[in-house]
């Protein structure tokens, strides 16, 4: 089939402001991924089109973009899922709320700064086991935070959040998801510090439970639920 592409373009060395570039691709298969088609535009038609990508199967988190208005990983969207007619249009823009560097590439530094601010690392609650072996954890305790270990830091959630758009100070759902991963890990001993960080002005209370983030997550993490659990933990004063 034939597909029209409408892609938000901006080259800081040339353009005063962003514009829409239009491209037409023939011989598109319903099973093609949008990433492959963006590659075809770049490789066959316009080498200056710029995007990030790596794994091409939804696990590295490089290629979050807005496809027809919804945050997606371009490598995880098949043409057939967009329900296009022959000659139909796919619109691709950079994710919102982070500064655009060039075309579909945004500046990830503010996103990673928020991530780094929530102590996203293990702080052991107990001394090293005397037998030189692993710390033990029951399958039930392990299951408690399984969902939030899946995060690939793609920013689909944070850049679909109206509270984050309103204020870039808000740490955003991705950072909270990654804090959750440690807060609910029974091996970890820094729960209280993380809860303190997240109860600050920039923390969880900025979340108005608008639920944009959960459907945006390509890893199907229950983002809003994780945020809710962190809010409860703050109120409870612990895990």
């Amino acid at each position: 089939m034939k597909v029209k592409f409408r892609i938000r373009r901006f080259n800081p060395e040339v353009d005063k402001k962003p514009y829409w570039g239009e491209y037409t691709l023939d011989n598109v298969e319903p099973t093609d991924r949008v990433l492959e088609l963006l590659h075809r535009v770049k490789w066959e038609q316009d080498g200056t089109l710029t995007l990030r990508r790596s794994c091409a199967h939804g696990v590295c988190g490089s290629d979050a973009v807005r496809i027809n208005g919804v945050n997606k990983l371009a490598c995880k969207v098949l043409v057939k899922s967009l329900n296009l007619k022959d000659g139909g249009q796919i619109q691709v823009e950079p994710i919102l709320g982070l500064p655009v560097v060039k075309d579909l590439v945004v500046d990830f530094e503010p996103f990673f700064d928020h991530y780094r601010s929530v102590m996203p690392y293990f702080v052991p609650a107990t001394p090293l086991p005397g037998d030189g072996r692993e710390r033990r954890q029951s399958p039930e305790d392990r299951a408690r935070f399984d969902d939030t270990t899946k995060c690939i830091l793609c920013a689909c959630c944070t850049t679909s959040c109206p509270s984050f758009w309103a204020s870039g100070q808000y740490v955003g759902p991705a950072a909270i998801v990654n804090a959750h991963r440690f807060i609910f890990d029974t091996r970890d001993g820094a729960t209280q510090e993380r809860l303190n960080i997240l109860s600050e002005e920039s923390g969880v209370w900025r979340c108005r439970t608008i639920f944009n983030c959960t459907p945006a997550c390509p890893r199907e993490i229950e983002v809003t639920r994780a945020i809710g659990e962190v809010k409860l933990a703050i109120q409870r004063g612990g895990r």
Binding site: E13, L51, S54, V59, C60, V101, K102, P120, Q137, I152
Partner: protein, 595 residues
């Protein structure tokens, strides 16, 4: 052009599992920087699915000696036995270290790390599969990558994210740093260092069908080669038996570890014929060849180029019962152990693997060869083992050689941790006693001229055209099976592509900022170099061993080829010498490989 200069004791190029492990250790004793063309968490280690191998013996009796032997046998005896010993011995402690860093492994009821079966890992006495693969569902690599990045944040490791290394700087034959492009600004940065470690991962993108990320273009080996140093065992590239058809993305061996079986068009579990004892869990080269032969014999599904991987509970349970095992599975269990695989099948094919079989084909997966190193991750300048002072390599890019002619599943992740750690320690030690080698005058001059030349390329051929031709010819003639005429054809084609690359390329983006048109073209240059070296290495090995199967030389030839291949750059040519002996110090004599 402005060039910025930085000075660090240690520079690690690459932020996958090997690079970050090396950086964690190096930074404890030396001023260290990590340079990565991707954000660290985008590295390909994050896609590793099935597990990391270590004889923890949490569920079955197991010993590091068994793991070492399996590694040697899996490598078709080209594995250096001292390296296999190091890997298997230190694996145990390496996995424990990851757990202590916070890695959320799956757990057994007693709270210990959960383990499962994987191809080629056996109880050496009964020859039956042993549970050795430590895992976190089917996203073990993701957890390793995240855990290491988290620990790097905790220990305040310095990162230069989205910096692309494009040259090694040497002075008087000594390494003194690297040149990198800041991708965002296009500026050139010189990193003056005492020690440089390459941890740039694989180069599967040379082939058409691959499990590898777009970024796996072999920059590290190409840079080392261009610095005048040899590459080892490049003909050994693993084709993983189960790539999703037709996209090539990986379906982990853990599917078979959990009981999945391969089925041909006639409904036969054909691995019973090729590997009567461990069947679907034979090592990867064996299974990939079997699939290929089934397809050639017309027993692909519907006569096409794929077979089925069946992990439907009823199928798994039938074979478990036949094997006299008590274990039974249901759909929920499969889902809990293989959530990502289920998601891939659903997203890319619209099928549910607990209800329909998965179509699979072999896919280019892993480079056993690479930059030759010794057990301390020090790079060697020849088969006789002289070290290049200040140069290190670890992870998939390095050839220790632990994997020999064929890597066992789960041994790469182990390799990253064990040898990444060794590289880090060795570099910290080296930096303590070594001085900086002074930078030569205008250290980036030559590479800047090259890059500027590339940026202005104004021929007629777009890079993707050359890339696709290379990928196709490598897939047709330098994949699961090889023979002289095909190899010659591949070589001729690759050389023709190289000349078009030099004389007729066109780059459309002439800008400085985030110029991926330019950098992709530069990566293509690396891949063309490696495609040529791989093909020449394959031509010169006139035997079949592990991942290298010659139709014209179907037998293993231990008299002439129980030795590593070294490719040396010489006056613009490739010289092959079989001059790095295989270490046999564990005393395992080459035997016929039956599974």
């Amino acid at each position: 052009m402005d060039v910025q200069t930085h000075q660090f004791d240690v520079v690690v190029v690459g932020a996958g599992g090997a690079g970050m492990m090396a950086a964690l250790y190096a930074s404890r004793g030396a001023k260290t920087a990590v340079i990565s063309k991707l954000y660290p968490t985008r590295s390909h280690t994050g896609t590793a699915q099935g597990g990391i191998g270590a004889a923890l013996a949490n569920l079955d009796e197991d010993h590091w000696e068994w793991h070492a032997f399996d590694t040697v046998k899996g490598g078709d005896y080209l594995t250096d036995q001292n390296a296999a010993e190091t890997l298997a011995r230190e694996a145990i402690d390496a996995v424990i270290e990851l757990e202590l860093m916070g890695l959320p492994f799956d757990r057994n009821p007693d709270g210990t790390i959960s383990q499962r079966r994987f191809g080629g890992h056996t109880n050496n006495q009964t020859k039956k599969p042993v549970r050795r693969a430590c895992h976190a569902a089917d996203r073990t690599g993701h957890m390793i990558l995240q855990t290491l990045y988290q620990n790097c944040i905790k220990e305040k490791v310095t990162f230069f994210d989205e910096y692309h290394a494009i040259d090694i700087i040497t002075n008087d034959g000594k390494v003194c740093g690297i040149v990198a492009v800041c991708i965002d600004t296009g500026e050139i940065h010189v990193f003056h260092a005492k020690a440089v470690c390459f941890a740039t991962g694989g180069w599967g993108r040379i082939w058409e069908t691959t499990s590898n990320a777009h970024s796996l273009t072999g920059d590290g080996p190409a840079l080392v080669w261009r610095a005048g140093l040899p590459l080892q065992d490049m003909e050994f590239f693993q084709f993983h038996p189960t790539g999703l058809y037709p996209v090539g993305l990986l379906i982990t061996e853990a599917v078979r570890g959990e009981g999945g079986v391969l089925i041909n068009d006639k409904g036969e579990r054909f691995m019973e014929r090729y590997a009567p004892t461990i069947k679907d869990l034979a090592s990867r080269d064996v299974v990939a060849r079997s699939i290929y032969l089934e397809v050639q014999a017309g027993r692909g599904i519907g006569g096409k180029r794929y077979v089925h991987l069946d992990v439907r509970p009823e199928t798994v349970n039938r074979y478990l019962a036949e094997a006299g095992e008590d274990r039974r599975v249901d759909a929920d269990y499969i889902l809990s152990k293989l959530p990502d695989i289920t998601d891939f099948c659903h997203t890319y094919l619209g099928i549910d693997p607990t209800k329909s079989p998965i179509p699979i084909q072999p896919t280019a997966h892993y480079g056993m060869g690479g930059i030759p190193t010794n057990l301390h991750a020090e790079v060697l300048n020849s088969g006789t083992g002289t070290v290049v002072p200040g140069l290190y390599a670890a992870g998939e890019v390095a050839c220790v050689s632990v994997h020999g002619a064929n890597r066992l599943g789960t041994n790469s992740l182990t390799d990253l941790i064990v040898f990444g750690r060794k590289a880090g320690k060795a570099m910290a030690d080296y930096a303590r006693q070594a001085d900086f080698v002074p930078l030569p005058a205008n250290p980036a001059g030559k590479i800047v001229a090259e890059i500027e030349g590339l940026r202005k390329s104004s021929g007629k051929t777009k890079p993707y055209v050359l890339r696709q031709e290379m990928q196709k010819v490598m897939m047709d003639h330098v994949s699961v099976f090889r023979e002289a005429p095909g190899l010659q054809k591949a070589l001729d084609t690759v050389r023709e592509l190289k000349s078009r690359y030099q004389n007729d390329l066109v780059i459309e983006d002439r800008g400085m900022r985030f110029n991926t048109d330019l950098l992709e073209a530069w990566e293509l240059g690396c891949m063309l170099d490696l495609a040529e070296i791989t093909t020449v290495s394959a031509m010169e090995r006139k035997e079949s061993r592990g991942g290298h199967s010659r139709e014209d030389y179907p037998k293993r030839d231990d008299v002439n080829y129980l030795v590593h291949t070294m490719a040396y750059p010489e006056k613009g040519q490739i010289r092959i010498a079989h001059d790095r002996p295989v270490d046999l110090s564990l005393g395992y004599q080459p035997a016929e490989r039956v599974y």
